[in-house]
Amino acid sequence: MTLHAQQAPSRAWFVHQEAEAAKQPKPRLQWRVDPFMIVAGLIATAALLWALAPGWFAPFAPTDMDPQAILQAPSHTHLLGSDHMGRDVFSLIIYGARQSMMVGVGSAVISLLIGGFIGLVAGYLGGAVDLVTMRLIDIWLSVPSTLLVIIIATALRPNLGNVILTIGLVFAPHVARVMRSLVLSIKSRPFVEASRAIGSSHLSIILRHILPHTLSQVLVTLTLQVAFGMLMGAMMSFIGLGVVQDRPDWGFLLNQGRSYLTTAWWFATFPGLAITLLVISLNTLGEALRRRLDPRGKAA
């Protein structure tokens, strides 16, 4: 079974990861490089490079406003047209990659750290700790995540850090559940019991046996989380919880451009495509990664 892309703030895929995690070792699927994956890899790499060194790729600075060239259709000067302030859409997208990636990666890392820790502890200790934690997580999950994001983001104030923190917090319990079932299944594998029989301490079992086995799943989760974080960030822009800045992220651009769709289609379309393509790519890669890194493949 594979993981898949979903609408931001999606929960469904977590269920799969949980189910996945609980599964018994299986022979590994074949690793086949298909054209989709190559394209996905190229897109993700491009976005990453843009995020790292936008200056190398962008023909204009994101702050270059040309009052003479407002809402210009794509042309030689403005490959993807210009926006309502005369900025170059192509350059905005390149610079926006960093912001979008920061939202995506940042929130993913936060949810992984928090959720991962909770899931690890609950799964490993089991018993009452597990029961209580899982109930708390149920509670957290019973509020649809979009609502949770809105409420928390309103309570905090919308700057980049808080947007990232909010998305991270909202997704953390999902990660916790994935992590927990992962730990539960690894915990019951004989080599863990073997290590216990040897007399290894809990800490060393966790660090040396359990964590390494969650790594591939964690990587996959990270990849997919980045995608969700980005979509969620875009949604926050729409609701008005986005961050206004010189280098707007793609969601913000799309949101700004949305009312120009009939008059200047390129303004919204290209940032939208950027998000969508990157999300698709990350999902495709995440899925491939999961298959590739599957430790069960080696175990079987």
Binding site: W31, P190, A197, I198, G199, A299
Partner: protein, 665 residues
């Protein structure tokens, strides 16, 4: 006799990453109407692939028939379309799979699953098919078929599920039944029941049977002909009596020798075929067995031997054996093991006192608290230097006892003494320290080693935990240990995924002995291994024990094997110890009716001694119930009114034996 099924020069390949992988190479096989043919061979030799090809189910697994024909009645099955095949499947050819746990759709009642095939092939109405299904259940001897028919697979025991599978296969009275390891996952007593059932039904209907098994005992019991496969080829095909009396192919002989039989004396070293089965992705040239064959010559290395008639046997060998094969001949060749350490009578290394372990069932809140009584009042002692074997059917609590002994789990009540100290008195830290004297070897050689660790790290893990060694000392010790278990010391940096099951189990053993422990619990340590490899590992365990003066608790379910390795044997049933005593005495002259039944149910690889197998009726009851009286009463031929009232205590007999039975034999 006309051939019902004739497989001619069948070749099958799977598409693998590295290209096509030929798993069957020119297989020839014939089954006459009413005949039982057993297909035997080690894991991966292509037995299942053969069955699947006949059924053309191989197509769904990514395999394809690349050559040859499968003649069944008037059809060449290899050339039919899937649609045409589906008319034959289930109607003319029945199929029973190995795993009764997973071979039934968990979401449908057994009735629905039987009815389905009747509706499909015999065009019965719903009502009629239900009736027919009930009578089929009755025919495979499922009690209360009217009730059972509406139950779901998970509500049935493994044995019953396998009966349901048989019922499905028999629903349309097929001419041919293909059974792929139908009893491998079952307990011996249940295996005996199912095999008996198959025999009975065959006698009634006169169907032909292709029975796939890796157990030569089963083959001896069931087969008219035995076909031996090795690495995708048939190496020998002979009438059962001939094959067991005069195995011609060295591989067949090797297999037979590796089997631990009743007749084998305890202090003998087991025979084993050296090496392991080749990788089919890169099969060896010439005779595929030549690398492991003691008789191999130059010809064997370069030319593939044809399957040729020799006497009554078809053999594919350039240098077949001609002399008869006897147990005596085998015994004579065995090298004797080092003199075992004599168990001293009084010095108990470990003592188990009134030990109980109850597992709560499900999540026990807001509901009745039911428990599984996995171990329910066991007392015994393990003496220094001895091997105590524990046998019993699945679920009888053997593994739980093993884990309790090492205090991997806390007992519900009772306690364990190790070296005079009560383990329950230890705190976490001192318990961890105490662990260095007690180690465990697990059943699953694949699961019990962390696939991400190098072999060296795995073996060094106990050293890291307990011994303060420098890096060099540790590496040195790992090399020593690898050497001791017969692995190349240079393999320390390798990762386990390239290792065979037997090699992995050696790694596990090396890890277990790293700290020179005093007690090793080996829980089904060889059950997952092929016969030839199993013998290697057993020999290794024996050697190490002799060398290091270890004490073993050896848990297993192959009686002959346990008898071979153990000084004393304990028999468990439903969480209780029902009999204990010196191995030979208990297993050759059992006094408890249960032990007796177990012993009787073992199929011996000797067609001459075919017994009526179903030694024991009925199923093992669930462990949840609170028992009154003897736990064995419902299956016991000797049960009396007393047995229904009072639970028998373990009482000592002469010769160091004890039994828990009101009416010992």
């Amino acid at each position: 006799m006309t051939d019902l099924l004739a497989i001619k020069s069948l070749s099958v390949a799977f598409s693998a990453r590295t290209g096509p992988m030929q798993v069957l190479d020119a297989v020839d096989l014939k089954i006459a109407a009413g005949e039982t043919v057993c297909l035997v061979g080690e894991s991966g030799s292509g037995k299942t692939a053969t069955a699947m090809s006949v059924m053309r189910l191989i197509d769904f697994k990514g395999g394809a028939i690349t050559d040859g024909a499968v003649q069944f009645d008037r059809h060449n099955l290899a050339a039919l379309s899937q649609r045409e095949m589906s008319v034959l499947r289930g109607r003319r050819i029945g199929l029973v799979f190995q795993e009764p746990m997973t071979a039934l759709d968990p979401l449908f009642t057994v009735g629905q699953q039987i009815a389905e095939v009747l509706i499909r092939h015999r065009k019965l109405s719903r009502a009629a098919s239900r009736k027919a299904a009930i009578s089929l259940l009755d025919r495979v001897r499922i009690p209360d078929p009217e009730q059972r028919i509406d139950q779901f697979p998970h509500q049935l025991s493994g044995g019953m599920r396998q009966r349901v599978m048989v019922a499905i296969a028999l629903a349309c009275e097929p001419k041919l039944l293909i059974a792929d390891e139908p009893t491998t996952a079952l307990d011996v007593t249940i295996q005996a029941q199912i095999l008996q059932l198959l025999k009975d039904i065959q006698a009634e209907t006169g169907m032909a049977m292709l029975l796939i098994t890796h157990d030569l005992g089963v083959a001896a019991t069931m087969a008219d002909r035995v076909v031996v496969m090795y690495a995708g080829r048939i190496v020998e095909n002979a009438p059962a009596a001939t094959l067991f009396a005069r195995p011609a192919h060295p591989y067949t002989r090797g297999l037979l020798r590796s089997v631990v039989t009743k007749g084998l004396a305890r202090n003998e070293r087991l025979y084993s075929i050296e090496g392991s089965i080749p990788d089919l992705a890169d099969p060896p040239s010439g005779c595929r067995f030549h690398a492991r064959c003691p008789r191999a010559g130059l010809q064997c290395r370069v030319a593939q031997p044809p399957l040729e008639l020799q006497g009554k046997s078809l053999v594919a060998c350039w240098r077949p054996h001609e002399e008869p094969f006897t147990q005596a001949a085998l015994t004579g060749r065995v090298i004797s093991v080092a003199e075992p350490v004599r168990p001293s009578d009084d010095a108990a290394l470990a003592r188990v006192v009134a030990l109980k372990k109850h597992y709560p069932l499900g999540r026990a809140w807001l509901g009745s608290r039911s428990v599984v009584r996995a171990v329910d009042g066991v007392s015994l002692e393990i003496r220094r230097g001895e091997t105590l074997g524990i046998i019993g059917e699945s679920g009888s609590g053997k593994s739980t006892l093993g884990r309790l002994l090492l205090h991997l789990e806390r007992p519900t009540s009772g306690h364990v003494e190790f070296d005079g100290q009560n383990l329950s008195d230890h705190d976490t830290r001192s318990l961890r320290a105490a662990r260095r004297h007690m180690q465990m070897i697990f059943q699953d050689p694949y699961g019990s080693i962390d696939p991400r660790w190098s072999i060296g790290d795995t073996i060094a893990e106990p050293l890291t935990v307990h011994a303060k060694l420098t890096g060099d000392e540790r590496r040195q010790r790992v090399r020593e240990l690898l050497d001791q278990v017969g692995l190349d010391p240079n393999w320390a940096t390798r990762h386990p995924h390239n290792l065979s099951g037997g090699q992995r189990q050696r790694v596990a053993i090396a890890r277990a002995i790293a700290l020179n422990p005093r007690l090793i619990v080996a829980d089904e340590a060889v059950s997952a291994l092929d016969v030839s490899v199993r013998a290697q590992v057993i020999n290794l365990l024996q050697d190490i024990k002799a060398r290091l003066g270890l004490t073993y608790l050896f848990i297993g379910h192959e009686l002959n094997l346990v008898r071979h390795i153990s000084d004393r044997v304990g028999v468990m049933y439903l969480g209780r110890l029902v009999e204990i005593g010196p191995a030979d005495a208990v297993l050759r002259r059992p006094v408890h009716p249960y032990t007796k039944a177990l012993v009787a149910a073992i199929p011996e690889p000797d067609p001459a001694r075919r017994a009526s197998m179903a030694a024991l009726d009925g199923e093992i009851p669930a462990l949840i119930a609170q028992f009154q009286g003897c736990r064995f009463q419902n299956r016991c031929p000797a049960a009396s009114a007393l047995c229904r009232e009072a639970e028998p205590e373990l009482t000592a007999l002469t010769g160091g034996r004890a039994v828990a039975c009101h009416h010992p034999v």
